[in-house]
Subunit: 127 residues, 2 copies
């Protein structure tokens, strides 16, 4: 596989193994010193062990589904559907790969709903 194919496969596996709570399989995708960042809260988790704990300790019966994956060389972007019970949220995830085909950096965005600003009603429809 070329870099893009390896990255695309890793991105899909990353989500599938999280969803299946396949922790050995999931950690096998990551470099030892993987960095996980959430810019909205300015939080950073360093290292595979802490990143594993972050996920195993994450509260709720959460579920993930890939809406889109875009892979390009050693980077990928994932558009995810995240659900906990009846609550649904989209997420945007940016991945970087090491030269050995492991995920070395993950950056998550969790955009929340908000009210549109006034002044553009003449151009938009709502759903």
């Amino acid at each position: 596989m070329d870099d893009t194919a390896t990255t695309r496969r890793a991105a899909i596996d990353y989500v599938d193994r999280l969803e299946n709570r396949d922790w050995p399989g999931w950690t096998a995708l990551l470099t030892d010193n993987v960095v996980y960042e959430m810019p909205q809260t300015r939080e950073r988790v360093r290292g595979r062990d802490a990143f594993l704990r972050f996920n195993t300790e994450y509260p709720g019966d959460w579920h993930l589904r890939v809406r889109r994956v875009v892979a390009d060389g050693r980077t990928a972007a994932l558009w995810l559907d995240f659900r906990v019970g009846a609550e649904q949220q989209d997420a945007c995830v940016w991945l970087e790969m090491s030269e050995h085909g492991l995920i070395s950096r993950v950056v998550d965005y969790w955009p929340e709903p908000y009210d549109p600003p006034p002044g553009r009603e003449h151009l938009v429809e709502r759903w």
Copy 2:
């Protein structure tokens, strides 16, 4: 150019021409019936003319910079740095291309800062 190269070029030009207020050049990248969506506000703009007005009427002296572009076949993802004066926000943009190499769909996410939930302080560092 193959599909991925065409998509990557269009994604970069999309941002550059917005930043430069090159409206003829920007609209030339879009299909007539391009659809623009903002899922957080559940707003949708239909068609190139309305999408152009949406951008030309957008308030403030805004500036865009590409932080990352990921292109894959006829889809792309853009990680953007958006600024108005001293205000800064990241954006995640998903693009779809038509078979003729024009942008047919744009989906924007505008994730805002929020406070981290309690209970994971032992795993994270803040910046």
